[in-house]
């Protein structure tokens, strides 16, 4: 139950965060208490895949640290969908040429009032990641960070451990996998 509140804290939508606070009946809670209830164990970084050139693609290789946390297929599906979104954003075709030529003809002033196709797709990606976090990752104690917030270099996956049930602070400040000796994370935040 603690993980949805982390979800809101990582997204930029503060209203979303307060919604979850309300859901948890957490009006009386302050931030400290919430933070104590779930702690960041480690982070995993999914790197870019440059085998198709400089287009934005992420490796679908399953990180071993997530082995016990999420099904391989779900993870790969998420990354593949993200890759498809980025391919759509960077697609070179008729519409992108039209946009480029129109922008050039207006000396690029048109971008003051119009969003580029790329920006529109990035917004779609942002919504998709939020949705995935809500439905799939947060219940498993994971949190996906939008690659745009990491300079499109990596997909950062934060692995949280619930301290509610264990009552003890978990260790694992190093980045190696499976480092938690506190044993508090296994149950997931239910």
């Amino acid at each position: 139950m603690c993980f949805p509140c982390l979800l809101g804290s990582e997204s930029k939508n503060y209203l979303h965060w307060f919604y979850f606070l309300g859901k948890l009946g957490a009006q009386g809670h302050n931030l400290q208490e919430l933070r104590r209830s779930a702690s960041l164990a480690t982070k995993v970084f999914v790197q870019r895949d440059y085998s198709d050139g400089t287009i934005c693609q992420f490796q679908t290789k399953f990180p071993p640290e997530l082995d016990s946390r999420i099904e391989r297929q779900l993870f790969e599906e998420t990354v593949k969908t993200l890759n498809n979104f980025y391919a759509e954003a960077e697609k070179i075709g008729g519409s992108s040429y039209l946009e480029g030529c129109l922008a050039c003809a207006t000396a690029y002033f048109i971008f003051l009032c119009m969003e580029t196709h790329y920006e529109k797709v990035l917004k779609k990606i942002s919504r998709y990641i939020q949705e995935q976090n809500e439905k799939i990752f947060a219940p498993r104690g994971l949190l996906l960070t939008d690659p745009v917030e990491r300079g499109m270099r990596v997909i950062e996956i934060s692995i949280y451990e619930d301290r509610c049930s264990s009552g003890s602070a978990s260790s694992g400040s190093s980045s190696s996998s499976g480092s938690s000796s506190g044993g508090g994370g296994g149950a997931g935040g239910r």
């Binding site: 702690s39 440059y50 400089t54 960077e90 960070t145 400040s173």
Partner: protein, 372 residues
């Protein structure tokens, strides 16, 4: 309990960005530090065109056609717009790795290379990738703590890694990279046309007027003409030549950096894997392709700081033992702008710092020695 009166100030992310850039208009404008030559460029263009409109255009509009100043104005406005767009926009800076990410990469490198005995130089940090059946090497940037994407390079003047790095242009006061290359190309193209146009019509003006009042009288009446002709003459050789060179690069989908380093030339080298093989397709991709937005988020707001205190870690005392993981409704990039040393947990600091090899900021000249 003492009551502290605090003055809350909104801090935007651009104020804490590393690198040697200057920002104006509250983060909307991004340039290099040295702007002197950029001001010279502006002065030359504005000055020459002002003289042209004030003197020659008045005569030519009456004697020949009013379309002459109109067309000049269009060229002038277009070149100014593209110049400002090139100078003020983010060239495609890759933000530096956060401490967690940097540590993760360090671990991966150590795992691949194994621990190096004391005193020995660690092997160079290179990753090999296969792109379109060619092997391309990715180099590790010690400053930004990332493996640079292909075609990216570290600009030593701006101290940033820039995607599809072309060159650092002092005339526009900014790097030329993925996001502003098309503006740069259109600027030099329109400036070439403008220079040729102004030069030609100055000659026409002098010729026409000399027929009526004589050559020396013409020059005495509008001494600015001489200045304009001189400026245009010298600009012609450089800008038109540069435009030709960049047209060649665009047709082959290469960058200046790659051309200088000779990345794709020579029989022992790989062919350019980014070229589509078709000149038109290359031009369309470079000039009209999709434009990625800036990932720097210069105008994002950092957590509110109290007056007189630095925006430090966003934790409160007695909370999580992991200093790099605040779980608060803050901007996710809040840790990005802090000096790396302040944010790296102590147990990782020694491993991160000992792995740092010699600083190797990339310039095309230095890089050519490193790569060859």
């Amino acid at each position: 309990m003492s009551v502290m009166v605090v003055r809350k100030k909104v801090t935007r992310k651009w104020e804490k960005l590393p690198g040697r850039n200057t920002f104006c208009c509250d983060g909307r404008v991004m340039m290099a530090r040295q702007k002197g030559i950029f001001y010279l460029t502006l002065f030359l263009i504005l000055g020459t065109c002002t003289l042209f409109f004030a003197f020659e255009c008045r005569y030519l509009a009456v004697q020949l056609s009013p379309a002459i100043p109109v067309f000049a104005a269009v060229l002038f406005l277009f070149s100014m717009a593209t110049l400002l767009r090139t100078s003020f926009s983010d060239p495609g800076v890759i933000p530096r790795a956060l401490p967690d990410e940097a540590a993760f990469i360090e671990m991966e490198i150590e795992a691949t290379n194994g621990t190096v005995p004391q005193g020995q130089r660690p092997p160079p940090r290179i990753k090999n990738f296969q792109i379109n059946n060619q092997i391309v090497k990715l180099k590790y940037c010690y400053t930004c703590k990332i493996f640079r994407p292909p075609r990216a390079s570290h600009c030593s003047i701006c101290d940033n890694c820039v995607e599809r790095f072309d060159h650092h242009c002092p005339w526009v006061g900014n790097c030329v990279g993925k996001r502003n290359y098309r503006y740069f190309y259109l600027f030099i193209l329109s400036l070439s046309l403008l220079t040729i146009y102004v030069f030609t019509f100055n000659i026409v003006y002098v010729a026409l007027k000399s027929l009526k009042i004589g050559f020396l009288e013409t020059l005495k009446e509008t001494p600015g003409t001489v200045l304009e002709v001189l400026i245009c003459f010298f600009t012609l050789w450089s800008v038109v030549g540069l435009t030709g060179f960049h047209t060649f690069l665009v047709a082959l989908n290469q960058t200046t950096n790659e051309d200088i380093k000779g990345s794709w030339t020579g029989k022992n080298r790989v062919q350019n894997p980014y070229s589509h093989g078709n000149i038109l397709k290359n031009c369309c991709e470079v000039l009209c392709g999709p434009l990625p937005p800036s990932v720097l988020d210069r105008r994002g707001i950092l957590p509110l700081e109290e007056s007189g205190t630095r925006p430090s870690s966003t934790q409160e005392p007695g909370s999580s033992p992991f200093p790099q993981s605040p779980v608060v409704p803050t901007e996710p990039l809040s840790s990005n702008e802090l000096p790396l040393k302040a944010r790296v947990p102590e147990e990782m600091q020694s491993s991160v710092l000992t792995q740092q090899g010699p600083e190797s900021p990339e310039t095309p000249q230095e890089a050519s020695e490193a790569d060859k």
